[in-house]
């Protein structure tokens, strides 16, 4: 029986929802194909996540636990993933397309001589491999990409699949891992963490995103207030991460993160193609912009033409009323 394996990413001590989305999808693929749906978790506290993974239908959970995985580093992660692949020999190995995944996916494919399709919007099994849909040309169009190989790696954009619980009393398999200091190819000196905001944009139900129209502290305060009323994550356009107004981790778009919340409010963002590439899959999009011809209105469900400094205060007040 062939195996469809999902890599479960841990970020800031939590299961990444996007990898559980991938696992949910792999479970349905495996059931339809009569394949075995398995998962692997690699972390300093890997075993503490087993229960959370079992809920989504993996029949085996492979666990690689070692203190070295406390922070992301590509050398040990690549070594662990290679070992996992060689011992499990999955026909498909699926990942959520996180920055952690992007750091190792190509190297893993080269190391394992596997075919790889990165950053897909959807994928399914075909005879002898996998076919996937990928946004290309700055996400203006899609292509269909086929990988024909007995080993296919695929990474999936967050929000592409719904979570689907199907609890399974999974068998737990511990995989030995050790790494010598001498094997480390690079040194992690320090991690500069995003200040304040802790809502993971890939998982946020709502996002308030600020663009160049947000000019000063007053504007930032309005953004923060709206986000807090909505329990939303704060995102930003490149204009504001580049100028240091917002932390670079908050950038949404082709260079930054791809998000798909239920509600996306773009404030003072023009809607450049590279920004839209990262947010066009949001369920409901609201745009606030003083330029009636701003391209952001072409993708917005609700467009408010106006000065954000005049629009946001009554908008926030009204939402507070509705929420109370």
């Amino acid at each position: 029986m062939s195996t469809i394996l999902t890599y479960i990413a841990i970020s800031d001590g939590k299961l990444k929802r996007s990898s559980l989305e991938v696992l949910s999808h792999c479970k349905s693929l495996a059931d339809a194909a009569g394949a075995s749906c398995e998962a692997v978790v690699i972390d300093a506290n890997a075993s503490s996540f087993i229960e959370g993974i079992q809920k989504y239908g993996a029949s085996k959970v492979h666990v690689v636990e070692d203190p070295i995985f406390k922070n992301h580093m590509n050398t040990p992660l690549l070594k662990a993933l290679s070992k996992v692949m060689s011992s499990i020999n999955p026909s498909v190995f699926a990942f959520a397309s996180t920055e952690g995944t992007k750091d190792v996916l190509g190297a893993l494919a080269a190391n394992q001589n596997a075919a790889v399709i990165a950053d897909v919007a959807s994928f399914k099994l075909i005879d002898g491999g996998v076919t996937a849909k990928r946004p290309v040309m700055a996400a203006k169009i899609m292509n269909n990409t086929e990988a024909k190989s007995d080993k296919v790696l695929v990474s999936v954009r967050s929000g592409s699949y719904d979570l689907n619980e199907s609890p399974e009393s999974a068998e737990v398999v511990n995989i030995d891992f050790s790494m010598d200091d001498s094997e480390m190819k690079s040194t992690l000196r320090e991690i500069i963490s995003a200040s304040g905001d802790t809502i993971d944009l890939n998982e946020a139900e709502a996002i308030v995103a600020a663009g160049r129209g947000v000019k000063d502290e007053d504007g930032k305060a309005l953004i923060s207030e709206l986000a807090s009323v909505l329990k939303a994550g704060i995102g930003a356009s490149r204009a504001l991460t580049e100028s240091g107004v917002y932390d670079p981790s908050l950038q949404i778009g082709q260079t930054g993160k791809v998000v798909s919340p239920q509600l996306y409010i773009a404030v003072g963002i023009s809607g450049a193609i590279q920004h839209v590439a990262g947010m066009a899959n949001s369920k409901v999009i609201v745009a606030i912009n003083k330029d009636p011809d701003a391209p952001i209105f072409e993708v917005a469900d609700y467009g408010i033409v106006g000065d954000l400094y005049k629009v946001l205060p009554p908008f926030i007040e009204e939402i507070k009323k509705i929420k109370s």
Binding site: D119, R134, A138, I192, D200, R238, I285, P292, D301, I322
Partner: protein, 247 residues
């Protein structure tokens, strides 16, 4: 790469670009820029390498006009069905017997956004590497890279030789001036045939293949609310609750 901003059409699953021009990938431009900055600070030489058909020479000239010292053009016919893995194998074969301190690459290409080639090359050459770099410094002969991770930035120290893939958040690539453009015409471009790199042709056969293109399911533009700020703000807030059900 093809110009992603040029008009395009899809006919029966095929992608048709109106303009047949090649441009320098924005992420590669950032890699070139950073190499030039390192050279200005620490000395050395900046060499660019490009795999592409004859018309890709324009993009090589652009990198030379920015200030790169010399270039290698690995000639592809443009009809090959290469994927990231094929390109990585060609680059690795080229670099195998070369001396270098750092191989800088774009973190992805603007047309496909795959972001695979860099770490593939590093793996083939057994190099220390990192991806998604937003800052580079040289300290005691090592490369110190600021990498944008999922939630924070990692400061990573790599011994040389190493590979690093660059984000366009790293810098603003310089626009070549007239002097640079004139000088670029005199700079050498070494032409290399793929067949001379000693790779078995079958090795280059792609495991992945684009079978067709299609339109994205279009988002309908919704309604625009213009008028008195206070009024439209409250109206839309109400609609988010009663109509869109997202509050």
């Amino acid at each position: 790469m093809p110009d992603v901003y040029a008009p395009l059409q899809i006919k029966e699953g095929e992608l048709i670009m109106d303009a047949d021009r090649m441009v320098l990938n924005a992420y590669d431009a950032s890699a070139v820029e950073e190499a030039l900055v390192l050279k200005e600070k620490h000395g050395g030489e900046v060499e660019v390498v490009c795999i592409g058909p004859a018309k890709a020479s324009e993009t090589i000239r652009k990198a030379l006009a920015m200030g790169a010292d010399k270039a290698t053009h690995i000639i592809a016919s443009g009809d090959e069905e290469y994927d990231s893995a094929s390109y990585a194998k060609i680059l690795s074969a080229f670099f195998k017997d070369k001396e270098y301190d750092v191989i800088g690459l774009g973190k992805q290409s603007q047309d496909t956004d795959s972001g695979l080639t860099g770490s593939m090359v590093a793996e083939h050459l057994s190099l220390p590497y990192t991806t998604n770099a937003v800052g580079l410094e040289v300290e005691n002969g090592n490369l110190v890279v600021k990498r944008q991770g999922d939630s924070g930035q990692e400061m990573i120290e790599l011994p040389t030789p190493c590979a690093v893939t660059c984000s366009n958040d790293m810098n603003d690539p310089r626009i070549p001036n007239l002097k640079g453009i004139m000088a670029s015409k005199r700079k050498p471009i070494d032409q290399v045939e793929i067949s001379s790199l000693g790779i078995d042709e079958t090795e280059l056969q792609a495991d992945t293949k684009v079978t067709s293109y299609e339109e994205k399911p279009a988002r309908q533009a919704g309604k625009k609310y213009e008028g008195e700020a206070e009024e439209v703000a409250r109206e839309v807030a109400q609609l988010l609750d009663t109509e869109a059900n997202v509050l």
